[in-house]
Structures are given as structure tokens and as C-alpha cells.
Amino acid sequence: MELQINNLVKRFGDKTALDISELSIEKGTLLGLVGNNGAGKTTLFRLILDLLKADSGTVLSKDADVSKSEDWKTYTGSFIDNRFLIDFLTPEEYFYFIGGTYGMDKELVDERLSAFARFMNDEILGQKKYIRHFSAGNKQKIGIMAAIMIRPEILILDEPFNFLDPSSQIEIRDIILRLNKELQTTVLISSHNLNYTTEISNRIILLEKGLIKMDKNNSPEAIAELNNYFIQKAGYEE
């Protein structure tokens, strides 16, 4: 099993942000995590990435507890938010630094980045400016590329379609699909964009107030159920 979650609970004060009794994710799964604001999507990702201390329970990555072993870092790529970016570096410096920590030399980083040429749209490399001066969309692209260029076995992206223009959304959708297909990368993405999430995921999990409300393989019935859920949540009848 690639990822195994057991009795995972995270509370912030009196509020339970996440409570998952059991969740298994197999290698090659492309998991779409959906839910309204406050559902616990980012909290779950942070717990998987050992950025938060769980009140109870464990996250096992390839059978190793992520809070006890750091081995998962060698094969996991992730981008949650701008706190993953070193914003006083230029994109080139950032990619080379990240690549260097994974033992990649500059030539290899350049080669891997060349695959993103269309995604970058001539707006990222060679701009002679620091990451902090890029637009939200381009920062998002930099973070996603840095996570993917290491060719991870597990990829975790929080709201990857946010801030991206329509063309880039299509492009990132295809990049994720290719990665999953060619390298059998296990992908976990959260998104509010139901269309893209349901389009690319082979498994969909719906979270509500920290609990798993639905966990199904992607199918027209699952998508219909999701749509109904959100319509009802918006206060409309089915």
C-alpha cells in the first residue's frame, strides 16, 4: 500500500478538523479530494506531509510512519501554498536548489523543465525577477513544477488549478495525467473545480467537516452524487 491512514484525528482547539478512521491509497491511484471550505482537505495533506502533529492516529507512507521516518521525502513531491516557495530566489535559482537536494545537476533540471515549456508560456524562466514578484498564477506554476520535476512516486497538490488561466488548467491536467500514466505516480489533488477533478481522478473522496462523506471510484453515478451534494449544500433542491 502506498499510503495508509489509521484513526487519524486532528483538532484545533475544540474543533475537530479531521477524523479519518481508515483510508488506504494504492500505488498509481489518482485521487481527487473535494469538499467545501473547512472540510479538512489541506489539513489532511499537511498531516500526510508531516507538517502538522496529529492528535492521534498514523499516516504510513510505504509502511513507514511519516512522523517518525523522513524516507518519504525522497519520493514525494508536493505543493500546498506559497510557503513552499523560497521567494527571494529567482525561479531558476529555486529549481536548481530544489533539484540539487534531490541530487539533480543543472543540466538535468533544465532538461526536466523543458517539458514544461508550454506551461511556462515564456513567463517564468529568464525573467530576472524574484519569485515574490511573480503573479499568483505564475507562483502556482513554479510550485507545481518544482514538485513534479523530481518525478515523484507520490505527488500531492493542494488546489493546483487555482490562479491558473484556462489554458494552463488544461495543461496541468494533462501533465498530471501523463505523470500518473507513464510513471505510475500516485497523485493526490484537492480542488474546488469539480469538472477537472472528476475528469482526471480515478477515485474521489468527499470530505465534510473533517469526515469522509463519500469515497468512490470515478463513475457517472459518483459524479452525479457529488453534484447533488454540492447543489443541496448551496440550498437548492436536487
Binding site: R83, I86, R132, H133
Partner: protein, 498 residues
Amino acid sequence: MLQKELQQHQWKAFRRNPMFERNLGVRIFMYIMFAFLGLEFLAFGFVLDNLLLQIGDYRLAIDTFNSILLYVFAVDFTIKFFWKKDQSMQIAPYLSLPIKRNRLFDFLLKKEFSNFWNLYLLFLVIPFAFKSITPFFGFWAAVLYIFFFFLLCVCNSLIVSAVNSLIKRSFWFYILAAALVILPFAFPLVLKINLGDYTQLLGEQLLNYNLLVLAGLLLLIAGLWIINRLQMRTDIYNELQGEKADKISSFSSLSFLDRLGAIGDFINLELKMILRSPRLKQQVVFSSALIIGLFLYMLYMPNNAFTKNGPFIFFIYGIMAVGLVGIIMGQYIFTAESSFFDGLMTRKISAYELLKSKYFFYSGYSLLTTLILLVPVFHGKLNGFLLISIFFYTIGPIYFMIFQNAVYNKTYFDLFDKGMMNWKGQSGNMIVISMITMFLPVVVMLILHGIFGATVTYSFMLIVGAAFALTHKYWLGWTYRRFMKRRYKNMEGFRSNA
């Protein structure tokens, strides 16, 4: 109405700063320091007239004071240059509201009149003015003088803001800042022109109610006001558009560090962080200026200066010169990385490597300073044995202590916040550890020196220092393990304070 609302927002921003909400230690320390500073200035203000009468050539203390005003404001300029915070971005949230932008800029500029940095000298000047002016020129002349002096403080502050804004456009404007500080000293030394005579005359005119002097100053302030307003407009648009006026740093990396692998990568990252963060850069520039000053002092002081002043000065100067950058930067370990710490912790990077790289970097800086200080050693101004002992003592127990910040630091540090000492990102543990680091080793040395004499003390420093330096892997590992136990708490702190 608008002015009042904005003032209320500023007050709320001040009161609701995470530093106030979370850190009682910093708060108490800050209050005590300000109270102490205020009392010291006040006390000095009461005796300043006697002091000036003894050292000055003029008949009246106020004349002597007026003759040294340019030096006073050169020092004031330096303090403000390093300490004063750039406030222009505070009005960013209001720019899209139906408020005229010039009103917002004026709001910030009006704050100069209540800014602490323009008031602190008044603690000194108010008692001094009443004591030295009233008997000769009358009560109202003293009041007028205090008002005039306050306006000079505001004027100086506006000059600092204008120069800081120019520095954002080009690094070369640092030369202008240095020139403004050096010129008052250079005039009498190089050009043999005593500017003090002119400032004394102007002061005398003012005390005789020649209001043209006051009008001239008001005109100067008005000019600076307009310049600052124009600069704010440009700066804020550059910042909001993400196109900083200053060019990208030409420093890319020190290629010889590549041979060190991950450690070299981290040292290069640290160097970039320092050079590209205004706040860290200012601290390192300030420390380096202090080290240069200490170097020159050591080089040109009389041979018996240290003997005369006792070992305290001896130790504190040595440790400051060799360890200051390490101590100042060391207090921000992991806090300086707080804005991208989540990213670091999910990569194939160990925080232990990061700690090790920081240790090598600070030790390298200490080694460089030690090598520079060999010059006074060769001139017979400094004991070589002591210098070597101080070097090892610094990279040993002193860095061991400062690295404990890595375990306890959990405040967010905005690398791009302007102003060297704005207390954001500062925490109680940082202050306590820094104070202990600066003074405890000196106290230990003084006690040893008093009981056993110089040779035993220097030998002790050398042996203890070398022992800590040689075992750095172990205590860094110990520090790392303790950090890992607390990491979630620290990371939550980095996030929640952002």
C-alpha cells in the same frame, strides 16, 4: 474623520501585532529598555550644560550645543537609517478605496510628528534647553528652541526616508547616505572649515527670535514632504506591480561552495537570503560597520588602552568583533526561514544539514574577522594568544548557546519587512539567549581572569572553545533532535504568525 479612522487602524495594527498578543517577554523587555533609555537621556539632559561648558569654546552651553548640532544629527541619521521602518506599504489596503491618494501619503508623513524616533532626543533636549536657555534668553526662547529642535528631528527623518527610497532604486545611493554622515566630520578635518560656527550663529539668531531661521526650516520640511510624497507614490506602485525599482542582485552563488554538496547549497542560500532581505542585510551591514570600527579602534588605540580599561573591554570587544554576525544571525535560526519552512520540511533535506551549514557559515565569518584582526596583533596592539582563544571560544560555547534558538524559535519573520529593529519576528527566547550569549561568557572570563590571571584564562578559552568546535557534530545533532521534538509547535507558530 479619515485621519482619525486611519489612526485607529494603525493603533489596532500595533496592539494586535502577534508580538503583543503572544510575547509577554519581549513586551516587558521593550518597555524596560525604553524606560531605561528615556531616563538615561533625561538625566543626561540635566548635566549636559555643565559638560558643554567644560569642553566647549563658547561662553554659553547652548552655543556649544548648537555648534555640534550637525554631529548630533549625523548620529541621529545613522540611528534612523538602520532602525526606522519603511511605512509606505501600510496604506496599500486603502489605495482602492474612494480616498485621495495624496491624503493617504500625507497621513503617513504626518505620523512623523508622533514617531518615537523623532521624539527620543527631546528627552535630552527639554531639560537641557530649560536649564541653559531660560536664564539668558527667557522661557519662551527655550520653548521656541525645543520646537525648532523637534522640527529638525522631523526634517532629518524625512531625509532618511528620501535616501532610503533612493537606495531602493540603486545600491549606489548608499554612498549618499554615507556622505551625509561623514561630511560634518570631513569638513573641519579635510577642508578646515568649521561648520559649527555657522550652526551656532543660526542657533543664536533663533534664540533672538529671528523667525526667518524657523521659516527656512519649515520651507525645507515642505520641500522634503513633497519629495517624500512623490517617492511614496512611485515606491508603492512598483511594489504593488511586483516590479521592484531595484535591480536583481548580481550575486548568484559562490561556486567553490558547490564542492561542499548540500552544505554548500545551504550556505549559498543563506548568503542570498541575507543579501536580498532588507532587514537581514541592514543587520549585517550594521554589524560589519561596527566590526570595521572596532578594527580601526584596535589599530589606532594607544598600546596601553586595554590595560587601562581593564579586561572587560578587552573581552567584549574581542567577542563582538569575532562573533557579532554569528550572534545576530544566529538568533534568527529557522525563524529567518519561516516563510518557506513548510517547503523545506517536505523536501529531501534534513534540518540537521541546514544547522551544520549555518554553523560553518558563521564560523567562516568568524575566521575571516580573526584573520583581519591579525593586523592589530602584528602591530602589537592586541594579544595574539587572546585573539586565537576568542576565535575558538566564539565558534565553541558561544555558537553552541546561540544555536539553541533553533529549538525555541517559532515566530514568523518577514524577510522583506523594512527596518532593522521593528520587533516583528523577535521573541523573548531570542533576546534572553542573545543576552546570555553576549554577557555570560564575558562574566566567566572576568572571574577567571580575576582569580587566575590572563594566561590561564586564555588557555581555558582556547581548550573549551576547541573542545566545543571539535564536537560540533554532536551538539548540533543534539540541537537538531530537540528541534525535531518541537517541530510541529514551531511550524504552527511560523504559519499562525504570518
